[in-house]
Amino acid sequence: MTTTASALTLDQVKVGDTLPELAHDVTATTVILGALASRDWRPMHHDSKFAVERQGVQDIFLNTPNQGAWFERYLTDWTGPKGRIGRVVFRMTSPVFPGDRMVYNATVKDVSTDGSGCGWVTLDVSLTVDGKPKTTCEARVAVPVSDDDNPWDRRGERWTP
C-alpha cells in the first residue's frame, strides 16, 4: 500500500509500506541554489569547467547538505509537520547532475516504540536516476503515537535518535 496521510501517526504505518514517489528534474539552478542555500562555496557545485577539468566528472553536482535537505523534504512531506527526523545515514554512489531526473522512493523497514514511548519509523530511501541508484539512505524518523503526541516536545533522555 502507499501511505499518504498528511498528519501521520504510528498506528497508520507498517513494515513494507511505500511512500509516494517524488520526482524532480535537476537543472544547474537546482545544484547552485542548493549549494548556496547551504553556504557551500566550493566550485564543483557551481563551476562546470572546474567540475569537468579538475574533478573528472561530467558537470557540477548536488552537494552533500542539499542532498540531505531533499531527503528531509521527502520524509516530512510524508509525515507532516510533527514528523521529526532523528537520524539520516546516506551513501552517495554517484553524483547527481543537471539534466538528471531525480526519483525518490522509500520503504518502511521497521516500526517501533522506544522505552520513553517515542514512536519510530525506519525507512530505506533511494534516490535514482534512470533507474540507477545515486544515493541510498536509511532514515529514522519519529512520528506521533497518537493525535495528541508530538515528538518535538521530547528533550534529553526522552529523545534518543
Binding site: 542555500a37 547551504s38 573528472g56 512531506d77 537520524r87 546516506f90 551513501r91 554517484s94 518535538w152 529523545w159
Partner: protein, 178 residues
Amino acid sequence: MTEPTPLDDTLPEDVAALIGQYQYEKTGDFPVEQGYVWTSCASVFNGNPVYWDAKVAEEVTGGPISPPSLLSAYARPHYWAPGAEGEQLSLQVHFDLKKRFGLPEAIMTDNTNVFYEPVRMGDLIRSRQVLKSVSGEKRTKLGIGRFWVIDVEYHNQNGELLGTESYTGYGYRREASA
C-alpha cells in the same frame, strides 16, 4: 563507487596522532536566521508549514526552528570577510588531509546526521571537528587516494547538543588516461 583496490596501508605518525583529537572549535559567523531557512526550503520545494507558518511553528515546535538538515550551514564561514586571506573553508580537517597527502581532488561518499535539540532563530552554533580514521592508499575509478572519516559536533550557545555529522571523504589524485 566501485570497490577500491588497496595499495599501501601505512599511515604517517603525524596523521595518526590527530585521530581522536578535537580541532577547529569555533562559533559560527552569524546567528541562525529565518532568511536561510526559507532559502533552503525553497531550494528543495519544502512546504513544511513549521518553516513557513508562525502559528504552526508555535503549536508544533514551540516557535520557529531551522530544518535540521541545515545545521552545518550555520557553521560554514563566509566566502570572504574583512581581514580574511585565501579561501575560507569549512570542514578544515578534510582540507588539511588533502594537503598533507598531496591529494588535489576529493569527494564525499557517506554522511551520517544525528539530530538532537532543535535549532532555533538566534542560536549561535558552535562546532568542532574530530578525525576518526584514515585509510591506507587505495585505487578507485577516480584515481589513487585515501578515505577518511571526520565527525563534527554542533552545540548551541547554551551548550546543548544540536547534532552530529560524520563524513566519509575520499581524497585522490587522478591517474593519466591510457
